[in-house]
Subunit: 339 residues, 2 copies
C-alpha cells in the first residue's frame, strides 16, 4: 500500500516515539485508540457500527471514531504514523480489501484500507480481527515475550490467529489460521460454512445455542428457557449467568463444548508446537472462568508429546475489549517499519 511521507513533519515530538491508531471494527461497535510503540493506549473512542446503514456510512463512522480517539489523546492526526484496523471476516492485508464479512451486513470486496487511508490521509493497514488480537496479545498482552503463539477466539464463530517467530503468519493466500473450520468430528453437525464437523459447529456460542434450544424444544426443563430470545438466540452473558445458577442443561452443553475446544487445541499444538496458546473471544470473555479449566485439562491430556503446563501455558487474553485495536496498531507500526 502506498505510504504517505511524514518524515518532514515538524510538529513531531522530539522523543521520536512512534504513535499509531488502532481500530477494532466489530459487527456492533467500533473501538479506536491511539497506541504508542509499547502498546500503551493514550486515548480512545467508541461508536456503534450500524452496518445496516451501508458501507459508506460505516466507513465515515470509522473515520469519525478515529479522529475522536486522536482528540481524546490530546493529539492531532498529523502526529499519527499509521492506522491499523482489525475487521471481522476475510481481509486481504496486501490490498486492504475486506473480501467477505458476514458480520458487517455481508460486506463483499470493500476497499476499506484505501478508503480510510484517503479519508485519514495516513498509511492504513487492514487485518483480520483475530489475527490482530493475537498479535496484540504477543506484543502487549498476556503472551508478551512469547515468540510462537496460537490464538483461538470462540464467539459467534471461532476465529484464529497465528504468530510464528514473532511474526504474524498469514499463509500463502492470506488465508491462514481459519481454525474454526478445522474438522474435529467427521460427518458431525452442520457448520455455518455448509460443511460438517468443524470445531465451530461444536464449540462456538452458536453451536452451544443450537444444542440448548434443541434440548428445550425436546421438552427438557432449564432456566435457559427464560434467556432464549424470539430468534432462538442466547448471549454469552446469559450463558455466564446460567452457569453461575448451575443450570444442569447449560452446564452440560458448555462443558462439552469446552472439552471439544481442548481436544481441538491439542491437535493444533501437535501440529504447530507453539510456546503458548491464548484464548479470547466473546464466549471466553463471558464464560472463561468456567470453560478454561476444562479446556486446559482436555488439551494437556490430548498432547502427543506430554508437557508440563508451565512449559505450554494456555492463557486467557487480558487486553479484553482492547486486544484487537492494540494488535492492529502494533501491526501497522510493524508494517510501517518493514515498509
Amino acid at each position: 500500500m502506498a505510504k504517505k511521507d511524514k518524515s518532514s513533519n515538524k510538529d513531531r515530538p522530539s522523543s521520536g516515539t512512534s504513535m499509531t491508531l488502532g481500530i477494532d471494527l466489530g459487527g456492533t461497535k467500533i473501538l479506536a485508540g491511539v497506541v504508542d510503540e509499547h502498546g500503551h493506549i493514550l486515548g480512545t473512542a467508541k461508536r456503534k457500527t450500524r452496518p445496516e446503514r451501508g458501507v459508506d456510512a460505516v466507513i465515515e463512522r470509522i473515520a469519525s471514531t478515529a479522529l475522536d480517539a486522536v482528540a481524546d489523546a490530546g493529539l492531532t492526526m498529523d502526529l499519527i504514523d499509521a492506522v491499523g484496523i482489525g475487521a471481522p471476516g476475510v481481509a486481504d492485508y496486501n490490498t486492504g480489501v475486506i473480501e467477505f464479512a458476514p458480520n458487517l451486513a455481508n460486506w463483499v470486496n470493500v476497499p476499506l484500507g484505501p478508503r480510510l487511508q484517503s479519508l485519514l490521509e495516513t498509511p492504513t493497514f487492514v487485518e483480520n480481527d483475530v489475527n490482530a488480537g493475537t498479535f496484540g496479545s504477543v506484543t502487549a498482552g498476556v503472551a508478551k515475550g512469547y515468540r510462537s503463539v496460537v490464538g483461538i477466539a470462540p464467539g459467534t464463530g471461532i476465529g484464529g490467529g497465528l504468530v510464528l517467530d514473532g511474526v504474524l503468519w498469514r499463509g500463502a493466500r492470506n488465508a491462514a489460521a481459519e481454525f474454526g473450520h478445522m474438522v474435529v468430528l467427521i460427518d458431525g453437525p452442520v457448520c455455518g460454512c455448509g460443511r460438517r464437523g468443524c470445531i465451530e459447529a461444536l464449540a462456538s456460542r452458536t453451536a452451544i445455542e443450537r444444542d440448548i434450544v434443541g434440548e428445550l424444544r425436546g421438552g427438557r426443563r432449564s432456566l435457559a428457557a427464560d434467556y432464549v430470545d424470539s430468534e432462538g438466540r442466547v448471549t454469552s452473558g446469559a450463558l455466564a449467568e446460567l452457569l453461575k445458577e448451575k443450570d444442569a442443561l447449560v452446564t452440560e452443553v458448555v462443558s462439552r463444548a469446552a472439552r471439544h475446544l481442548g481436544i481441538f487445541t491439542a491437535s493444533l499444538v501437535n501440529a504447530i508446537d507453539p510456546e503458548c496458546v491464548v484464548f479470547g473471544g466473546g464466549l471466553i470473555e463471558a464464560c472463561g472462568s468456567f470453560m478454561m479449566p476444562i479446556i486446559r485439562q482436555a488439551t494437556y491430556h490430548y498432547l502427543i508429546r506430554p508437557v508440563e503446563p508451565e512449559n505450554l501455558p494456555i492463557l486467557e487474553a487480558i487486553l479484553g475489549d482492547n486486544s484487537v485495536l492494540v494488535g492492529a496498531a502494533m501491526l501497522a507500526n510493524a508494517s510501517l517499519k518493514a515498509g
Copy 2:
C-alpha cells in the same frame, strides 16, 4: 552440536561443491547416499537395519552403510562436509538424541548424533524422518520451488513435516508436525497413542488393516482373507493388489480412509495455508494412484477459502525411497551453513 573444522582440507575439489551424506534409518532398512548441494545423489548403499540386535549393532551398521555410500560415489569420507540422518520417531535436532523410536525395537534416549559423529568424524545432524522427507521434497523433489509446504506421510502411522518460508518448522519443543495425532473424530476409534479419533486411527495402514480384519472376522467375504498374515497384518503392497482386483471390501475401506485423509488435509490447509501439500509414506507409495484422487477431491471440498487446484497442488512425493536421505543431507548442509 560441535562441528569438526574441515576448512583446512587440502584434498577438497577446487569446484568448492559441498557434499553431504544423507542417511534414512528405517525400521527394516538403512539407506545412505552422498548428495551434492543441488540434491543430486552421487552414490548409495543399503543394509538391513536389524534393530533386534540392539543399539550398538545398529549404529555400527549405519556407519558401515555410510562408508559404503561414500565409496560408491568414488570418494573418501574426508570430502564429506556433514552427515544428516532421518530417523523414525522423536528426534531432538539440538542434541542429536533419538528420544523415542518404537520402530527401532523401542529405542529410548539414544545419542545417535554424537555417536555417529564420533564414528564418522564428521558433523552429524539428526532429524525426524518425515521432517527430512518433506525438506527433501522442497529442496530437491516434487515441491521444489515452493516455500511453504505441508508434508503428510501415511504408512504404519501417519507422519508429518512442515516447511514454512523455506525453513523446516520444528516448533518450540522440536515437537511440531505430529499430524498423525490430530483428532478428526472426537471419541472415535482408539489410536496407537492411547487416545481416540486421531487421523492415524482412521487412515493409516494399521487402521485400514484393523477395519478389514474386523469385517473378515464378522464373516464378510473378500479376497483380502488370502493376504492377512497370522498376526492380522496386511501390507501396503497387498492393499494395492486388492485394489487392482477391485475387491469390494478393500475398495470401501481404503476409499473411506482416503476421504478422511482429504478432510484432514483441508483442516491443515485451513490452519496453515501452505503453497502446496506433499503426500509420501508407504501407503501412498503403494496405493497412491487409487487414493490421491479421493484425497484431492475431499481436500478441495473442505477448504474454507476455495482455491483453484493449480494454486494449491496436492502432490505425490517423487523421490520415493530417496526422499528422506536427500532431505537429511540437504538439512545437514543447511545446518552447516547456518553455523
